[in-house]
């Protein structure tokens, strides 16, 4: 156990860094995608609602490992071979980010939709009755209130996404799990390797959920 830490500790920490980088990139775009489709699902426009619903259903209905293979291998193959004339290549980081963003974005969209719908309809009516536009009312009145109820679910989704980065080891991105596989192959110490990796995830996620609890408490002040 000690030998793995002394010999491979730095490597594993670096890999954890890449896991966090991938998760952060994925989450960043997931927030944008989630907000976009979340609002699309609550506006009074049938086509927008339907498009949003289809996006969520499709992404939710496909396992992420399939999505990863599809984006990393399938999409370049489509452009380069089936359509032809393109030269599209995705790095594992790019493909991984896209996968996480789509996957997490779909769930975020549902969280945001539910959050917006949890705000009393009277708030929107009062805002509109004053002459505020729909967008102004959303931004100044509805979303600030919706976010409070959304925070716990969003943090939960962040944690799931952080763990889901491990799935992207299948497309060869050298995040923590992928790196750990190499360490295990070199040392044959599978118990020790995976125990250490497990503890590393545990520490990061515990820190994340603790700070989330603190943030939640702070946001609830004055409620």
């Amino acid at each position: 156990m000690l030998r793995i830490i002394t010999d491979y500790g730095g490597l594993l920490l670096f890999a954890m860094g890449r896991t966090l980088l991938l998760a952060l990139l994925g989450l960043f775009f997931a927030c944008i995608i989630g907000l976009f489709f979340g609002i699309m699902s609550v506006v009074h426009n049938r086509p927008c609602n339907v498009i949003s619903q289809i996006f969520v259903d499709v992404i939710r209905g496909v396992p992420m490992i399939v999505l990863a293979f599809f984006v990393y291998f399938g999409v370049p193959y489509l452009f380069n071979t089936i359509i032809g004339g393109f030269s599209v290549t995705l790095t594992a980081l790019q493909a991984g980010t896209i996968c996480l963003a789509l996957n997490c974005g779909a769930y975020m969209s549902e969280i945001i939709r539910a959050g917006i719908q949890s705000v009393d309809i009277g708030q929107m009516e009062a805002a509109r009755s004053l002459g505020l536009t729909y967008a102004m009312a959303m931004r100044r009145v509805i979303l600030p209130q919706a976010i409070r109820t959304m925070i716990p679910s969003i943090i939960n989704q962040f944690i799931i996404t952080l763990k889901d980065t491990s799935i992207l080891s299948v497309i060869g991105f050298p995040e923590l799990v992928n790196t750990a596989k190499n360490v295990q192959a070199n040392t044959f110490m599978s118990f020790q390797t995976w125990a250490i990796v497990g503890v590393m995830y545990l520490i990061v996620i515990t820190i994340l959920s603790r700070s989330a609890k603190m943030m939640e408490r702070r946001l609830n002040v004055g409620r």
């Binding site: 009393d120 009277g122 708030q123 009516e125 009062a126 805002a127 509109r128 009755s129 004053l130 002459g131 505020l132 536009t133 102004m136 100044r140 009145v141 600030p144 209130q145 004055g222 409620r223």
Partner: protein, 261 residues
């Protein structure tokens, strides 16, 4: 139509200007699916007039009010606010709404903003005035409704009566030409009804054009220039408070008044 006697009111009631029609409604109909809530409503509201709409639950009073600023889309008919067709395709609804203040049964103060920001949000966002001017105007209005000390409070820190007074002040902060009240005292504890009605009486005395849906018969008697009795989606009877409340002609009005008085 006569100007109401202003017994029991402070100040003199501003005269109704019969030549200026602020709200003109013709043959308004509204259906929700198969349910016909409004069946041909026609009504004019003049400058400075206080029209009180009474009637049993489900008679369409609130729906009628909500059609006036198009919180509900009318199914058919004409609604003109200062000559602008509210149901028109090209109408700038936000501009129309800037001139119509609305007060709701459940106050609907913005829970995420304190009192002063509740009031200044719309004027500032819509560039009606600078933030400083808006704050100054809001403070004056808060003084008028007796809540200057609550400027920094959040809605959840206020009583129902205080919330409703802030809601009225918030609507006034847009300097509307018309005020709509949708059962403004129905969600209040009895001891808080008076303070809200007083603010409304003062507003009426200042000559504000008002349409008030309420169950407060005392308010109707004292403040209304005209009382409109609605039932089953129709206007059954309308006239001065004396005509409708004391000498009703229609049997349905008599039945209703017997129940509530």
């Amino acid at each position: 139509m006569s100007v109401a006697e202003n017994d029991g009111m402070n100040g003199t009631k501003a005269r109704v200007d019969e030549d200026t029609v602020r709200i003109r409604v013709r043959d308004l109909r509204k259906t929700f699916g198969d349910l016909e809530v409004l069946k041909s409503i026609s009504l004019d509201v003049h400058q400075g007039e206080v029209v009180v709409v009474i009637g049993p639950s489900g008679s369409g009073k609130s729906t009628f009010l909500r059609c006036l600023n198009r919180l509900e889309d009318a199914t058919s008919g004409v609604i003109e606010i200062d000559g602008v067709d509210v149901n028109g395709r090209k109408v700038n609804l936000n501009k129309v709404r800037e001139n119509i203040g609305m007060v709701f049964q459940h106050f609907n103060l913005f829970n995420n903003l304190n009192v002063i920001r509740n009031m200044t949000l719309a004027p500032v966002q819509l560039s009606k005035c600078s933030p400083a001017e808006a704050t100054e105007r809001a403070m004056k209005l808060l003084e008028r409704v007796g809540l200057a000390d609550k400027a920094e409070s959040y809605p959840h820190q206020l009583s129902g009566g205080q919330k409703q007074r802030v809601a009225i002040a918030r609507a006034l902060c847009m300097q509307p030409r018309i005020m709509l009240f949708d059962e403004p005292t129905s969600a209040l504890d009895p001891e808080m009804v008076g303070e809200v009605l007083q603010v409304m009486k003062d507003l009426a005395a200042d000559g504000m054009t008002m349409v008030v849906v309420t169950h407060e018969m005392g308010f109707a008697r004292e403040v209304a220039d005209r009382v409109v009795f609605m039932d089953g989606g129709y206007i059954i009877e309308e006239g001065t408070p004396e005509e409708v409340l004391l000498h009703p002609k229609e049997q349905r009005t008599i039945d209703f008044l017997n129940k509530v008085l």
